[in-house]
Subunit: 207 residues, 4 copies
Amino acid sequence: MALVRDSAHSENFGSKRRQILDAAYIVFSRKGFHRTTIDEIIAIADTGKGTVYNYFVNKEQLFYTLTQEISQPFEADLERAVTADTEPLDKLRRLVTLILSFYTKHGDLWRVLMHEMRGFGNDGYSHISAEMRDKYHSFFKRTIGSIEQVLTEGIATGVIRPCDTVVTAHGMFSVIAMMAFQKYVGEDAEAAAERVTETFFYGIVNK
Amino acid sequence: MALVRDSAHSENFGSKRRQILDAAYIVFSRKGFHRTTIDEIIAIADTGKGTVYNYFVNKEQLFYTLTQEISQPFEADLERAVTADTEPLDKLRRLVTLILSFYTKHGDLWRVLMHEMRGFGNDGYSHISAEMRDKYHSFFKRTIGSIEQVLTEGIATGVIRPCDTVVTAHGMFSVIAMMAFQKYVGEDAEAAAERVTETFFYGIVNK
Amino acid sequence: MALVRDSAHSENFGSKRRQILDAAYIVFSRKGFHRTTIDEIIAIADTGKGTVYNYFVNKEQLFYTLTQEISQPFEADLERAVTADTEPLDKLRRLVTLILSFYTKHGDLWRVLMHEMRGFGNDGYSHISAEMRDKYHSFFKRTIGSIEQVLTEGIATGVIRPCDTVVTAHGMFSVIAMMAFQKYVGEDAEAAAERVTETFFYGIVNK
Amino acid sequence: MALVRDSAHSENFGSKRRQILDAAYIVFSRKGFHRTTIDEIIAIADTGKGTVYNYFVNKEQLFYTLTQEISQPFEADLERAVTADTEPLDKLRRLVTLILSFYTKHGDLWRVLMHEMRGFGNDGYSHISAEMRDKYHSFFKRTIGSIEQVLTEGIATGVIRPCDTVVTAHGMFSVIAMMAFQKYVGEDAEAAAERVTETFFYGIVNK
DNA sequence: TATGAATGAGAGTTCATTCAT
DNA sequence: CATGAATGAACTCTCATTCAT
């Protein structure tokens, strides 16, 4: 269960680090940040306690690294979708599919992330935490921002009715996230995405 | 700061209990379940630590009681709205306003609730926790169910286009919750509710 | 083994705190700061681990409190000796006796203090440590300063031969400390003090 | 920075060992025994962690080896001074100069040694530690013993007033150590030594 | 020989919970 | 009822030491 990619180098390069990240993914997803213990992670990762601290400075940074690693390819995909040479409505469909797939796959972990985000760096915490929180914030801003951008583009070309793009983007995002969290999305993410976009595009009222 | 209603009994009856609940509301909302300490609650409540355990069996049950107390009048309101003798679309508007107001007021606490819900009673936890989790689940089910019910009613009377009511109800709920969480709702909840319903009713695509 | 004074209030007032301080005195004296564990302290103090942290914010501050408690009456004694209305040479004898008694009684702990002093607050440590270190430094400065002051006084009145009072005071202090550390001082501190002063007097007194 | 002497063998023989000892000297002097980590030593020594354990069985023995290596030439010097064919008072001057120079140069490390000495082999520690502690004790005994021996010799030849040679030797030693620790000794160790001896001589020399 | 990834015993600290007053 | 001193299970993190390469 290498979440991002298998190391192409040697068979064992970074193997322990990989095992720890994979185990952390499982436990954080299942239990949330606070209920997760290092002991449980190492039991699954089959490593010693100290090994965790060879690779990550602390539990928070392990969590942070994990989410960074997962989000990076996703953000690249988003970027590509937004700058693609296609119709705004098609871009929107593509974005929704991407986001829906991402949150369907990593919903449990991301739910935790979205919750803990608020806690990090709030009090007299280390500044590393404050940094993390900022990075997390900008992650969500970028995701929603990409929707917003395409909405704006659609309004400019006239295919989308003028509206508050900020609020609408947030609305679309929240519906997508909800669908993923509620496990409404089965095998076919594309079909589910279609339902979301249809609802938003055309509304629910009979005309 | 009695959140729900003042005890109708005597001036002092349950006063300590009230103080604890009010303090718990503040701290849980601000810090989440795990970061909240009993010490912080009693500091604000101006009570002793033992007093908390006179009224509540443990931290979880204090949290549970708090959320129950807040949700009950809200659920009564929902019930009344659904069974009212009005048009489905008006009912829907009324529901959206109610839910939006509720989450605007208690969003911080409810965000915590929605997160911790998943943790309660997951492992070898006490069965009291499992009970709580079930009650929490049914709370959300009832809220969303009320939307669903009105959608079904609207489809039956023909004012709403046939759709998957379960998914659509969840969608509407998630948009409402998002707007509240994101603090997009200012003074005028009614106006904000209007925007949500408009979007859902008529979609975003220019026709 | 209440080191400073028994609480005059109630039989049990501060009893646990007292037990912890007494136990800490024993273990710190025997093992030094780092080799001392909280577990060992509570085993002797017959308390729970958490109790220690009810009274002291951490191990360092426990150590600090302990040394403060012990040094305060001593410093008061020094002050009284310096400002007494007696001959400089008698003052010096009195000072030497006081210091010798103190270091004979608390030599093991003070040896630890003198060593750890250098470590506290050196790196990225909490500022509480830096504060402590400063207090510790000033403690030694005051002790040696009191000797210095009397030397200066003696030089002014002509009974002591002009000399570098700073160095001489340090010298006297170190000999006293050494005698105490080496357990050369038996029952009769006064007699031992006499030996120290005699040696120094015949070197520094005008003839 | 070969502290004692360069290996006379080949350019590279023991080079790693040398680097480790030199680095250990720096860190132990600065931080004391417990606060020193192997990681910090190897960072300065530019070696791997395992290499340390190729040359030294553990941290304690590394410390021990370091101090042994430094003390040996010093002890040889002392021996030579004591058995030299000179006047007792000149011998004493020579001894004081030697000791003062040594503690001025290696004061920081020796301060650590003098502190940790008591901790080694106290409890259920390995017998290697107990051995070390004994060797450390005998080191100080030899240093002070050399002073004592010359004092006795001086008393026999009548140039020194009869006194408790054990206590006096300790006294002289402690003043010397103090001067070094307090960094009172500048460039000219000889001059500083003179001050010490003068003070003592005028107290202990027959007139 | 040199290395450094892996390890786990052990330490300090937190905090929900209990119970005697 | 109200209290808060006492408690210890649980948790994060450190670091000396090992050992396969």
